[in-house]
Subunit: 263 residues, 2 copies
């Protein structure tokens, strides 16, 4: 999961191993063994592994091969360049969905993010404009969430690697808290990592790992990142608390209280 | 639950009746039948109801009786007046917790809200200032959440009654969506009501009813209300989506898309 920082990724890989999943993280897929028209094994640069079923999770890439040689400009990872109205550089040609690049509202640079939320929004904006009404798609902050067996994983904003590349000075912290009041049945561990700009304390990104009830808290961080909230702003938020839902301080606020000491 | 609008409250009372709870909403408690030192029944202006156990849920009031006649100024509902540093009007006297009034960041008026989140924050701010460091408590937006058997209830910001009193022109909508992708196991109904300022589209309040996974979505609305986000801002938020967690458009965004047509 390269969209998480390595320290958070390691926690997930450890958790998956605890569930009985074997990971080969340093081997490259080189091919498959095939019998008839069925894959029966996976060949890596190190071994061949027999398989009942093979599932590929290798991300996606924009299918823009057919545009090579046309006047349509391509950008990051050969995704189609569009403006906030989802217009390409060619008049009366629009593009939306996983074939387009997206403005990252934190880095202010374009990136490629093939997510249903962005595809859905850009389709709506393109369609609205094509039909003669006005709509704009401002961009995204890279919010994503997934479930791995019982584990929930969520992320938003920029991660360490991206901040290093951009030369932005930042501080980070990772805290462990609970999804409910500690004493309440069903309280689960949750880890929240925050990344904030040095000095200003502006939130730049967040990553959440945990069980049932953990991941959706990323939405507050996504909202905060989008609207340039600082760690103090997050601490000051009037977030909801009752024992079945959260500790008195929501874990995202506990993380902000920890990190503000470092800015 | 007077902190919800009547239309949302009715949905809860219907749900409670479906769970087998009998509600007497138009009767006043006038006393108890007592045997020895045990309450054995509840007397209303209409009937006497036998009881194995009596539980009172009647809210709370600031215990400031002892301050009558002192120089400490009291405000809303006789709660202690404090500034953002939690100082009373008397030098070197501080107050925090359920005895103090709170600035409502939406109405810009003081209100009385006896919640653990506010008490905890104001205690931290008072203590920090008393110890010679600096801290401020900006106020609250009235976020609250509770669980009634399997039902989750959440609210933030102002409700219709308050907006009417303030003379603020507003529009509202209530939508029904799901807590997860419709086809995903465990997807539950969720209702989201939004209140927004007419013309500007600024979010003024939100109320959420639903089952497992519904209520904590109020935190995005609390953040939005606090930072003056409009319905368009909410639609534009890059909130997290994966089938176990949400429909592609999070229910709070579906509500914003519905309401923006009315402003």
């Amino acid at each position: 999961m390269p969209t998480l920082d390595p320290d958070m990724g390691t926690i997930i890989s450890d958790a998956m191993r605890n569930l009985g999943v074997t990971l080969f993280l340093k081997e490259e897929l080189t091919g498959f063994t095939i019998e008839g028209n069925k894959a029966t094994g996976v060949i890596t640069n190190n071994q061949t592994i027999e398989a009942d079923i093979v599932v590929l999770g290798i991300g996606s890439a924009p299918n823009t091969e057919f545009l090579k040689g046309s006047k349509i400009e391509l950008g990051v990872r050969e995704a189609i360049k569009v403006n906030a109205q989802m217009q390409t550089n060619v008049p009366d040609v629009w593009a939306a969905g996983d074939c387009t690049e997206t403005l990252n509202l934190v880095s202010k640079q374009h990136f490629y993010i093939a997510l249903g939320t962005v595809a859905n929004k850009t389709g709506l904006v393109a369609g609205t404009n094509i039909s003669g009404q006005k709509a704009t798609f401002p961009g995204a902050v890279g919010t994503a969430v997934c479930k791995i067996c019982k584990y929930e994983v969520a992320r938003t904003g920029l991660q360490e690697r991206e901040l290093d590349t951009l030369g932005i000075e930042y501080v980070t912290t990772t805290i462990t808290s609970k999804t409910r009041a500690d004493y309440y049945p069903g309280a689960k561990d949750i880890k929240v990592k925050l990344l904030a700009e040095k000095n200003s304390g502006r939130l730049l990104g967040g990553q959440i790992l945990g069980e049932e009830g953990a991941a959706k808290r990323i939405d507050v961080l996504a909202t905060a990142v989008t609207h340039n909230l600082t760690l103090q702003n997050i601490i000051d938020l009037d977030l909801s608390y009752a024992p079945p839902f959260s500790p008195v301080w929501d874990p995202v606020q506990t993380a902000a209280r920890s990190l503000i000491k470092k800015i």
